[in-house]
Amino acid sequence: MSDRRYPEAVADAFPAPPTEFTDREDRTVEVRVYDGSGDDYESLVEMYDSFDPADRAQGIPPGGEKRIREWLDAILADDCHNVIAWCDDDVAGHATLVPDGDAYELAIFVHQTYQRAGIGTHLIRGLLGYGQAEGIQKVWLTVERWNRAAVSLYKKIGFETSNAESFELEMGLRLNEGDGESDETDADES
């Protein structure tokens, strides 16, 4: 969709992965770019297969291994950008940017075992650092209004609400200069 709105100002610089930190439960967590290997893929399947359905948002992650694999095949495609937060050999969280016209749609999931420990903040910063390095200009997301933890995380990162008229809030962030169009002279503002 081309009618989404984004902040005029470009967001702060975010650290590109790999990054390592200690979470609030004293666990060592490393944020790395998804490497496309079977091991990374299977670890993601394992994380989503044990993901609490109560934390689903707008139908994702889907339930059941078959649907999880179909969904992952779509969002791990070559034109998507994915980072994983690792705690030893377990996936603690996963964040992704999926192309949508001239922008990217963002989603982030932290497994219940690892929630409320500050991992989401490091993970989304890592994803946006990766996106910045890849030259991505505009990122949008939707979030359920009642999910205050997520909304405040996105605000802290620099996302601004672009549409508050629906059941879900829509938020946008500008990662790099430019409007995302290949033809810079083609004004798309109305």
Partner: protein, 122 residues
Amino acid sequence: MKVLCGIGGSDDSLRALDETVGRAAVANDDLTVAVVDNEDSSVSPEDVMRRARDAVDESGVDADVRRVEGDPGSRLVEIAEREAFDEIVLGGGHTSPMGKITIGPIAEFVLLNAKTSVRLVR
């Protein structure tokens, strides 16, 4: 059952049309298809009318297909109440590139305002 299916031409509304016509053929529903204005739809109301008539004709269901102009959500709610429909059927929402389901503004309005039961077709 007396069913009012509201469609504006979006992909999910056309899925709802086919599902509802198919169900009406089996369940012997008294079906009305209302073609409403949907500014987000790329299909013209005339084409949506044609599409609805074709679906109804193919199924052999005796359904009423009518054009409903004006604000789509409030018109559907009003018709459902005035003509004593048992159920309003609508498309179940758009899926983002990420796979997230978003319910459109027409369905949001109808869900929050209808006294009639509402079914969203997935």
